[in-house]
């Protein structure tokens, strides 16, 4: 076996292990996200029980005819010094009373709506983690694909 092929094989071994670890992390992060979301969903259900079925629904969400407003939660792409690749960073701006999405649902907001808001803010952190793992996995798979092509080319030559 040529030294080149040997080197490619060991890189492929490492990438395979990395991708398996990332796949496991990816599933884990999705399950954590599911847990946060289901807590939020049960708090939304409690709020519906108190305020009425249609008082917490898509009818309260802004439409394209509503006034323009900016997102409170956004992501930034930063260079991670350790991984040497871009990672998502979440920024949740502190909302003024006017900006708080809770105000779409009226003045008297049940405690469960506040709790649901906190649950979904926590979910956003899980979303950020999950997106970072997904991007890493994507890059690992692309490198693996390139390495496999290279390996094929070398094997054909030999």
């Amino acid at each position: 076996m040529s030294p080149d092929l040997d080197r490619i094989n060991s890189i492929l071994d490492k990438l395979t292990l990395d991708s398996l670890t990332l796949m496991e992390k990816h599933i884990q992060s999705k399950l954590e996200l599911e847990k946060c979301m289901s807590e939020g969903e049960s708090n939304l259900a409690k709020a519906r029980y108190i305020k009425g079925q249609n008082a917490v629904s898509q009818l309260q969400l802004p439409t394209e005819d509503s006034k323009e407003f900016n997102a409170l939660a956004t992501v930034h792409r930063d260079k991670n010094s350790k991984l040497q690749e871009e990672v998502f960073d979440l920024e949740i701006r502190k909302a003024t009373n006017e900006e708080n999405p809770l105000k779409w649902f009226g003045i008297l907001i049940p405690q469960s709506m506040h709790k649901a808001q906190d649950d979904y803010k926590r979910s956003l952190h899980r979303v950020k983690e999950s997106a970072n793992i997904q991007v890493q996995l994507h890059q690992t798979l692309s490198t693996m694909k390139q390495m496999k092509l290279l390996k094929k080319q070398i094997m054909c030559k030999e």
Binding site: N9, L33, E68, V75, F88, P101
Partner: protein
């Protein structure tokens, strides 16, 4: 967390059922921009697949969106479009919903990853 207040961040968009949209919008991801375009879409049983597909493609084209959240059951309806998106950004995240728990075997990125492990390729 780094300080970002001077730079406007990129958006997280949502395509999903009522609870998913209400929840994440409560969390603060919603935005209506100056062109009156929103970054979310509520999908119900009356929503046509073509509408979902069109909305997803529109979000992919927008350069102010970095993450697209889509309920996995909705993603199943437009799987061919999702599989066609091979760029890492915007990251398309398939998320569970109230009635459909997360199923790793349906996730696009995991299916792509599993495709890399076929025995022929692994043999030296």
């Amino acid at each position: 967390m780094a300080l970002h207040s001077s730079v406007k961040g990129k958006l997280i968009s949502v395509i999903g059922d009522e609870d998913t949209c209400v929840g994440f919008l409560l969390g603060g991801v919603g935005e209506i921009n100056k062109n009156r375009h929103s970054n979310f879409m509520v999908v119900d049983k009356n929503t046509a697949i073509s509408e979902i597909e069109e909305c997803f493609k529109r979000f992919l084209k927008r350069d102010d969106i970095d993450i697209i959240l889509i309920n996995q059951n909705v993603a199943e309806l437009i799987r061919h479009v999702i599989d066609g998106h091979t760029q890492p950004v915007p990251a398309v995240l398939e998320i569970p919903s109230k009635d459909h728990p997360y199923d790793a075997s349906k996730d696009s990125i995991l299916r792509r990853a599993r495709g890399m492990f076929n025995p022929e390729d692994m043999a030296r």
